[in-house]
Homo-oligomer: 172 residues x 2
DNA sequence: CCTCGCACGTTATAGAATAACATATCTTGA
DNA sequence: TCAAGATATGTTATTCTATAACGTGCGAGG
């Protein structure tokens, strides 16, 4: 698998979170990418960190730090909060995971290594979290900010609502 | 003072947070509007709630619930967290204040009563918080969401960066 | 081999938010 | 006017989230 191909992967990433798909393969690909990115960068994806990422990758949703901690400690890693927070902070710094401010929780990045400003779509019914393409959103935000002389460095864009399946279910 | 005039107030609201202005008058106007909106709606802006709003209106920044609580309790109101959280929750429900997810904090709405989707511009240096016009941002976000069948109900849009003054100071 | 840097683990504490219950006040209709 | 219900305020206790501070082990470079 080469490095900078299959842009199709990126384009469909958001949609996949809301539809049935071979998630085992999905998670496997992301993990492989994350490893490649880490290696290329000299960042050490140690056992706890890697396991934390795998846990986040189990589903397209966000997990609280303590939820991750419970999983890690059940597998022989440390039992105290800093264990989880350090692993998660590493993943966020490396762009392998994102923090969802609204939820005080974390979710695996679905296309690590690619520069992207993300917007998160959070289903209030099934709690699925999708990472949508946010470049146009970012542009609009920077325009609004620029109009008052504000320089945007980091943006938090999170939408709460209904995913396609839950929307359909609600309509029924 | 009539109700639906001076659209100029709205337009300059975001900019004001980042520039010198007669803030006493600024806060007074917002408070008056908040009272009018509450009255029109039959919502009870009781003493604690009103005082909480006044405290938030003291500056264009966000305050944590416990910071508000300290101020309230020093003035004879209750000393326990629910006192602050309940007042703040009321203000948020009524659209008189907003919660800033990134900061776990609250800020007064600068144009209560007017329907608006807000984006917040948070200066990482002086901690000023401005409420910018976010309709174009909202449109872009809904487009991105719609592309994958997601229906946006509420959006959190927060930018971290430098306000004009701090940007200038940093460049020096 | 030494040691410096980094990761990992711990204990302890800080910070943010809510559950559950008691009391008071306001509203409303008999 | 007064009883009943709804709303608001206050309390105690607990839960959830996050970080500070410190000690230990290990691997790379001298
Ligand atoms: Zn998947
Ligand atoms: Zn859903
Ligand atoms: Zn002002
Ligand atoms: Zn500033």
């Amino acid at each position: 698998m080469t490095d900078r191909d299959t842009p199709e992967t990126t384009d469909s990433a958001a949609a996949r979170a809301f539809s049935a798909h071979d998630h085992e393969a999905c998670a496997g690909e992301v993990l492989a990418r994350a490893e490649a990115v880490s290696a290329a960068r000299g960042a050490r994806l140690t056992p706890v960190r890697r396991r934390a990422l795998e846990i986040l990758l189990e589903a397209h949703r966000a997990m609280g730090a303590y939820e991750v901690l419970d999983r890690l400690s059940a597998e022989g890693f440390g039992k105290q909060p800093p264990v989880a927070y350090r692993a998660l902070d590493f993943l966020v710094e490396q762009g392998l995971a994102h923090r969802i401010a609204r939820l005080n929780a974390f979710t695996a990045c679905v296309h690590p290594g690619e520069a992207h400003s993300a917007a998160f779509l959070i289903c209030r019914a099934c709690h699925a979290v999708a990472e949508a393409e946010a470049d146009p959103v970012r542009v609009a935000l920077e325009a609004a900010a620029g109009a008052v002389g504000f320089q945007v460095e980091r943006a938090t864009v999170e939408a709460l609502g209904l995913c396609p399946s839950c929307r359909e279910a609600a309509a029924a």
